[in-house]
């Protein structure tokens, strides 16, 4: 049986959160940039 290794587990869960939030954030930013462009084009 493998003991410990929690640092890998935390790393994995942390990475998952990081990647998902960054992607979500990038979507939100693209959304904001589009809104700005929409306003300018009017």
């Amino acid at each position: 049986m493998i003991h410990g290794g929690w640092e890998f587990v935390w790393g994995a869960y942390g990475l998952t959160w990081f990647v998902l939030t960054s992607y979500g954030f990038s979507l939100w930013q693209r959304h904001r940039r589009l809104s700005k462009r929409e306003k300018n084009s009017r």
Partner: protein, 226 residues
């Protein structure tokens, strides 16, 4: 407004599933606590494959029906599938190091995933280079189709080429708590992925609309016409 509520719910559900995986599921007899990585790794892999399959369907239906909707579906699911594939790879490494003692092996799944990542990244780069929306949709659908056809062949060939380890525990031998944690995580991630997908498709639609608006509106018909 509505999407914010849904998002908060999805995040809470995701956090709950992760809590279940980290705390409630018991330690594995062989792997100890390290196996908890699987609760993020495996769902990510499943969902990545699912999204790439969706993009295949999108490509196919675009070529058959020529409706922009299918191209937006193909593009969005490809992008999110690529993000998840990019997540699966380092998660796999984090799993491989404590269990197999190395960060990377030329295992068929790892290798296939890596090639998959490069292939789909290529299509997204390709999309950037084509200005005309109709041509872009046609070309990238054709390429997306071929790539998806290649995935099983790549997998098969890499497996024959070097089959080292096949670690796959079937649910029947697993603790029911573990099965539950795995399923919870899979569905939580699926929820987020679908949310992203819908948002991404909306963005694409808005972008197309804005571009249409920004182009000088066609002048109104006037005067005598032939």
């Amino acid at each position: 407004m509505k999407s914010k509520v849904i998002l908060i719910f999805l995040i809470l559900f995701f956090a709950f599933a992760q809590y279940w995986g980290l705390v409630r599921a018991p330690a594995d007899r062989m792997m100890g606590d390290v196996y908890r990585i699987l609760f993020v790794h495996v769902p990510a892999a499943w969902n990545a494959l699912l999204l790439l399959t969706v993009s295949f369907v999108g490509c196919l239906l675009y070529l058959l029906r020529r409706k922009e909707f299918w191209d937006r579906l193909a593009h969005s699911s490809m992008e999110i599938g690529l993000v998840l594939t990019g997540l699966v790879l380092p998660l796999g490494s984090l799993w491989a190091k404590p269990t197999w003692g190395v960060w990377w092996t030329w295992d068929p799944r790892l290798t296939t995933t890596m090639i998959l990542f490069i292939l789909y990244a290529g299509v997204l780069i390709l999309r950037q280079l084509i200005d005309d929306p109709v041509r872009r949709a046609k070309i990238s659908s054709a390429v997306g189709l071929l790539i998806y056809l290649n995935v099983p062949i790549v997998y098969l060939s890499v497996r024959w080429w070097r089959s080292l380890h096949q670690l796959q525990s079937s649910p029947s031998t697993m603790d029911p708590q573990m099965v539950l944690a795995l399923r919870l995580n899979a569905f939580a991630l699926l929820g987020l992925a679908v949310f992203f997908l819908v948002q991404r498709m909306r963005l694409l639609k808005r972008e197309a609309l804005i571009e249409e608006k920004e182009s000088l509106p066609p002048p109104l018909p006037r005067g005598a016409q032939s």
